[in-house]
Amino acid sequence: MNTDDSWKLAVRADVLRLRARIIRAVRHFFVKRHFLEVETPVRIPAPAPESHIRPVPSDGWFLQTSPELCMKRLLAADYPRIFQICKCFRAAERGDRHLPEFTMLEWYRAGTDYRTLMSDCESLILDVAADLGFGKTIPRQDRTIRLEPPWERITVREAFKRYATMTETDALRMDRFDEILSCDIESRLGVEEPLFLYEYPAELGSLARVKADDPGVAERFELYVAGLELANAFSELTDMNEQRRRFEQAVSECAFRDGLSYPMPEPFLSALPRMPPSAGIALGLDRLVMLFADKSRIEEVVAFPPESL
């Protein structure tokens, strides 16, 4: 059998050039706004325990599932505006929009909440679009998406009211929240223009602050463009005891699921009381490339999907 598949790489040239340009534009966007680019270790002893994210073990430690904890330690050490573009790893995630190794863009701002990050998203995507030569619209799967801000903002409650047959509270109680969100709701989000889905039920924001006047709701949003989930953001939780309690709960759920006991990220927890009120966001860079390259499968925007290795 002929194993030379360099033609597969060759046909990706346009997308890979676009990808490089997007990364350059993203970097430029943050540098221009006086964000400090940082690098944190990819291999860490204790990732944030999360019920539905499985870390990849690496010689006794783990590959990071996100750079979140180290970046927040930098926030706590008085780095008020930071960003990072890095590889993250999540076990057993492979689908049209998932790679087990993917590229994440994260940025954090001290002294603000998640609403500022919504404006950041609007400016960032408009900036990148302009850099790539798009106007105020981009084509996506035979439709046109308007990028003119402000973008639509709807709460999770409203989305369930519009597109589902039950409330988000009932969906959670019946353990059908994720299923309804991904099967019935997501494809309808951000179809005309990008959309922020915000105010998640508190139990779905493990590292997020709850609303001051409504403890049942987490200050969390997701950015959707043309049904594609691009980014997840929080007003960050800074209460160490509450964070420890949530981590312990997640650790016990993970132990039940994987039969593994994940360690507590103690240095992060002890830094938390020094962390100023902040907001942080993680944006999937591969998906951003999917959006601008108008591709529907994530393997189309990387040089080497895992199956090719």
């Binding site: 539905h52 995630e93 689908g95 049209d96 994720d178 969100l181 991904s182």
Partner: protein
């Protein structure tokens, strides 16, 4: 046993005592949410299709499918009878289960019967069979009006297009996958 992470297109699993084949598959996972495995499944007994979303905690039994060499015996009131020549065990399939293969069921022909826990689901024929032409118009040399082929009927009742030189009583080879004429068989 399979877990949800084993699910993929073409996998055959057992649900509520029926065998299903996965015809479409996608992994989805809303941000920070649980992994979901969206599948389209086809019931291998009655052909019914449906969509279902599985979770990582779901487990599946493999569908116990096997192929067995059997001999075609006879057809009666839409039931097709096949026999295992070792055990003399007989199974019956419906016309729907036989499908297009009914055009090529020669007496005593050996086929592979697909079985699910001893229930027959379908058959696969040899790729090529030789059959006798039972009805054909005579070849009028130089007759180009009818084009390059002419219709004939073979011993199973099946009709197909063949080159004009094929005569009644001759043997021809048919590709059972396409149902098309391949060649004339001498002797």
């Amino acid at each position: 046993m399979y877990t949800a992470s084993d699910l993929r297109k073409g996998l055959r699993i057992k649900i509520d005592n029926d065998p299903f084949i996965i015809t479409e598959f996608n992994f989805v996972k809303p941000g920070k949410g649980q992994a979901l495995y969206r599948c389209k499944l086809k019931n291998m007994v009655n052909g019914n299709q449906f969509e279902r979303t599985f979770r990582s905690v779901d487990v599946f039994e493999a569908a116990d499918l096997q192929e067995k060499k059997m001999q075609y015996l006879y057809q009666e009131e839409g039931k097709y009878c096949f026999m295992d020549n070792q055990s003399y065990e007989q199974v019956f399939l419906t016309e729907d289960q036989i499908g297009e293969a009914k055009n090529f069921l020669l007496d005593n022909i050996e086929v592979e019967v697909l079985l699910f826990e001893d229930r027959p689901l379908g058959i696969s024929l040899p790729n090529f069979i030789d059959v006798v032409v039972t009805k054909a118009d005579p070849w009028a040399k130089g007759d180009s009006v009818s084009g390059n082929t002419k219709p004939v009927t073979v011993q199973t009742g099946y009709q197909l297009q063949v080159p004009p030189f094929i005569e009644e009583g001759e043997k021809i080879r048919i590709d059972t996958r396409s149902g098309e004429y391949l060649t004339r068989v001498k002797g």
